[in-house]
């Protein structure tokens, strides 16, 4: 639940990201995004593909530098890591067992071995992979690997969790199950989440707020507050009449942008 704290957890102020394109031209990926995110909020960002939403997330994760504008992220507990990331396509290390992968962030933080193994075990249990704790990723299916990626982020326990289309590459059923898992874990231990996706359903299922981004250069076009009560059920939500109303509202905004992104791709 959004806290009453006056200062936002994350403040994005007129953020621009420009990088050189293939022919030496300047490509503006993010074109002036301003957004405040409250502590404990789950914000979903949707937009047409190539709209710069991933770039935005990468800037938040410190993997890229903004060209102009600023980002502020408030750390409330110096004992806890400020941010952690779940990557598109798991990004788990093939040379580590499931347990080692899940414990990775803790190891870098200097958590002693016994404690980090216990924490890792706990999260492996939460995602239902006890039997595979000592398996290597090559032995797991794509969905299982993505669960390991989730467990790794949860075990790291950052104040801000950045998620970049984590379920994008999965089939519909696995996706639903993982959304359910994420909802359960997030509702149990609230943290600020920025979740990037191209799926409107996913954004509505998970988010407190859905931000719609424009085609490149990405700007915020529209914001929707999602009214569904928590705890949520990812499947039951679909039958709520408000779900389709909101879906239509977002799609209206998005359709033009998708068309524009298409046209850009054809032209460029």
């Amino acid at each position: 639940m959004p806290s009453s704290n006056m200062q936002p957890k994350i403040r994005i102020d007129n953020l621009h990201v420009v990088y050189p394109g293939r022919r030496g031209e300047q490509v503006e990926a993010v074109g002036g995004v301003t957004l405040d995110i409250t502590d404990g909020e789950l914000v979903c960002i949707v937009g047409p593909s190539g709209c710069g939403k991933t770039t935005l997330l990468r800037v938040l994760a410190d993997l890229e530098q903004p060209t102009s504008g600023a980002i502020q992220m408030l750390q409330s507990n110096p004992e806890r890591p400020l941010k952690g990331t779940v990557f598109q396509g798991a990004g788990i290390f093939p040379w580590m067992t499931v347990e080692q992968n899940v414990a990775y962030g803790l190891k870098l933080r200097g958590v002693p071995p016994v404690e980090r193994t216990a924490t890792a075990r706990h999260w492996i249990g939460e995602i239902g992979l006890e039997r595979f704790a000592q398996a290597y990723p090559a032995q797991l299916s794509g969905g299982m690997q993505q669960r390991v990626g989730l467990a790794r982020a949860f075990a790291f326990d950052p104040e801000v969790l950045l998620m970049d289309e984590p379920f994008g590459a999965l089939d519909a059923q696995t996706r639903l199950l993982l959304q359910q898992t994420l909802l359960q874990q997030w509702e149990r231990r609230t943290k600020t989440v920025v979740f990037v996706t191209h799926s409107i359903e996913e954004a509505l299922t998970l988010g407190d707020r859905v931000c719609v981004m424009s085609a490149r250069p990405g700007r915020l076009l529209h914001e929707v507050s999602v009214p569904f009560a928590r705890p949520r059920d990812a499947i039951a939500l679909r039958t709520d009449p408000r779900f389709s109303t909101l879906f239509a509202e977002i799609w209206d905004v998005l359709r033009d942008e998708v068309d524009r992104a298409r046209a850009d791709e054809v032209a460029g």
């Binding site: 040379w95 870098l108 933080r109």
Partner: protein, 560 residues
């Protein structure tokens, strides 16, 4: 895929067989193409004199030293090049320029500067390994997916963490590959290096054989080089398994398939039947030892040959049992993998024939050392093994199974093994083999007793079905009793040493078995009799061999 694996096993065997044949028939000139049997003989002489171990050992030492001296710095420098652009810029052009020079071309230069001794040989190998490994390691670090570095950084990894938790483990598979490549290089090179100015080593052996025009020795040297290469490959694969277990995770699927294979083949090769093939061989050899002749190399070959023939027999039996539909309703199925569709009939037959081929090759070698007697004995054995269930007059199906087994798993193998050692015949050896013959026949008969009712129902003729239950029981007593009677007679005749009487400790077990046979007719109750008879054969046989060996040792001590 399975076809291919079999073909890859069969083709070298066929080639060796054809080669042997072509030389023996005079199609190939023996001077230029010594037959495999001759190469084998030369090789065993080289083994016997220890020369091959000395030369192979020295070559391996040179390779190992050069490999460590070149390989370890190369891995370290390669890793540095991979993670540090400055080091890369400094080293890369130089390494890339030197890398394509065939390192053997550097040998004269190295000899000029370092002399003809060991240092120049080891250096040549070290240098060539170094340049190969350094470039490969560097490029495998550079090929690590940059995503992994980002993931690590997002969890707060520092430079040091990036190296130890990402760069190093992620490039380990590549490092292993370059180590394997480097080792292949080093092996190729060592032979060349030893051609020039060496006084020992496997390359020297080959070159010297060339100068002496000893082509059989030359080929023997080549065989050893191939063998060493193969052994090193296996060792490096194991190392890879240890260092890169996640790579093995995908390999594990293959391994599971391997295990599956073993699971399917295991009952089909009837693993419990091999003591019956090994015991008579050991008995013959221990009798020969008692008579003062023992050659361990020949004994080893005889055991391998005997196991191969037994394996071939089992597999061919499996194949023909299936074709004749005999095992269809077998209650205690030994094998039956073909009927269950787990193995293809042709696979079983091909494996059986391959086993016969191995046994025959060993036999041919033994013939070449001991003369034609073993040839006829072997031919007879193979024929019996084959026609045991194959052919129109399959011995097993006309009630002659026990007699065939008695003769071939008893006296014939014992005499053969004795002859291979002593190169003569001996009546005492024949007599001393009888107890083992009785017992091995008893094993088969226990099987037929158990299956008596079913065999009769399906018209399979065994001695048991021909005799009927009552007389078949008597046959069992005769076979088991005959074991002990024949043993005591041989001791009383002074043929066997009195120490062989220690086998009598198995008598209570034998009597217990006869009691069960007298009381039971149910297959389930007779099943343990089969197993226990086989066990009795093994215990009795081992004790009998011990008796002969102890008698031999006591004699030998007496001479001292």
């Amino acid at each position: 895929m399975n076809h291919n694996r079999w073909l890859s096993l069969l083709s070298p065997l066929v080639l060796v067989g054809l080669w042997e044949l072509a030389v023996q028939l005079g199609w190939l000139n023996r001077v230029f193409f010594p037959p495999p049997s001759e190469v084998f003989q030369t090789l065993s002489q080289l083994i016997g004199s220890g020369q091959i171990f000395r030369d192979a050992g020295i070559s391996l030492l040179r390779v190992g030293l050069g490999f460590l001296l070149g390989g370890i710095p190369a891995v370290i420098l390669g890793l540095l090049m991979g993670v540090n652009p400055v080091v890369r810029a400094l080293v890369q052009p130089l390494a890339a320029a030197i890398y394509p020079i065939p390192k053997i071309a550097l040998l004269p230069l190295i000899i000029v500067t370092l002399g003809l001794g060991e240092v120049s040989k080891v250096t040549t190998i070290a240098v060539s390994v170094f340049f190969l490994v350094v470039l490969n390691v560097a490029s495998s670090v550079l090929q690590v997916d940059p995503r992994y570095f980002e993931v690590a950084r997002s969890f707060g990894a520092r430079r040091r963490d990036l190296f130890w938790t990402v760069a190093l483990p992620a490039s380990l598979p590549g490092i292993m590959t370059s180590i394997k490549l480097g080792m292949g290089f080093a092996l190729t090179l060592i032979v060349g290096v030893e051609f020039v100015g060496a006084e020992n080593g496997i390359g020297w052996l080959i070159w010297q054989s060339y100068e002496l025009y000893a082509i059989d020795r030359m080929i023997a040297g080549l065989v050893v080089v191939a063998l060493i290469g193969w052994l090193i490959t296996v060792a490096l694969d194991e190392l890879e398994y240890l260092l890169v277990p996640w790579q093995a995770a995908s390999v594990r699927v293959r391994e599971r398939r391997m295990r599956e294979h073993v699971r399917l083949w295991w009952p089909t090769i009837r693993p419990w039947s091999y003591t019956a093939a090994i015991i008579p061989v050991l008995l013959g050899a221990s009798i020969a030892a008692y008579d003062g002749a023992i050659d361990w190399w020949r004994l080893f070959l005889t055991i391998v040959g005997s196991i191969s023939i037994q394996l071939g027999t089992n597999l061919v039996n499996e194949y023909y049992d299936d074709r004749k539909g005999i095992d269809k309703v077998q209650v205690f199925g030994i094998g039956g993998a073909i009927q269950r569709g787990e193995l293809a009939a042709w696979q079983v037959l091909a494996a059986g024939l391959a086993a016969f081929a191995v046994g025959s090759l060993i036999g041919l070698y033994l013939v070449s050392v001991t003369g034609p007697f073993i040839f006829w004995l072997g031919l007879f054995s193979v024929a019996t093994g084959f026609f045991y269930t194959a052919g129109p007059l399959a011995l097993a199906y006309i009630g002659l199974g026990e007699i065939a087994v008695f003769i071939f798993m008893g006296p014939v193998i014992v005499i053969g093994s004795y002859y291979v050692q002593a190169e003569k015949l001996s009546l005492p050896a024949v007599l001393a083999s009888l107890p083992v013959g009785f017992l091995v026949a008893a094993i088969l008969h226990a099987n037929n007793l158990r299956d008596l009712d079913i065999d009769r129902q399906f018209g399979k003729r065994t001695l048991a079905t021909l005799l009927g239950r009552g007389r078949a029981n008597i046959e069992y007593y005769v076979l088991v009793g005959g074991t002990y009677v024949s043993l005591i007679v041989t001791v009383l005749l002074g043929v066997a040493p009195w120490l062989t009487l220690i086998t009598l400790v198995t008598l209570p077990a034998a009597i217990r078995l006869m009691r069960i046979v007298a009381a039971e007719t149910e297959p389930h109750a007779l099943q343990p009799v089969l197993r226990q008879t086989a066990k009795l054969h093994m215990r009795f046989g081992s004790l009998l061999i011990c008796g002969w060996v102890f008698a031999w040792l006591i004699d030998a001590l007496g001479y001292l």
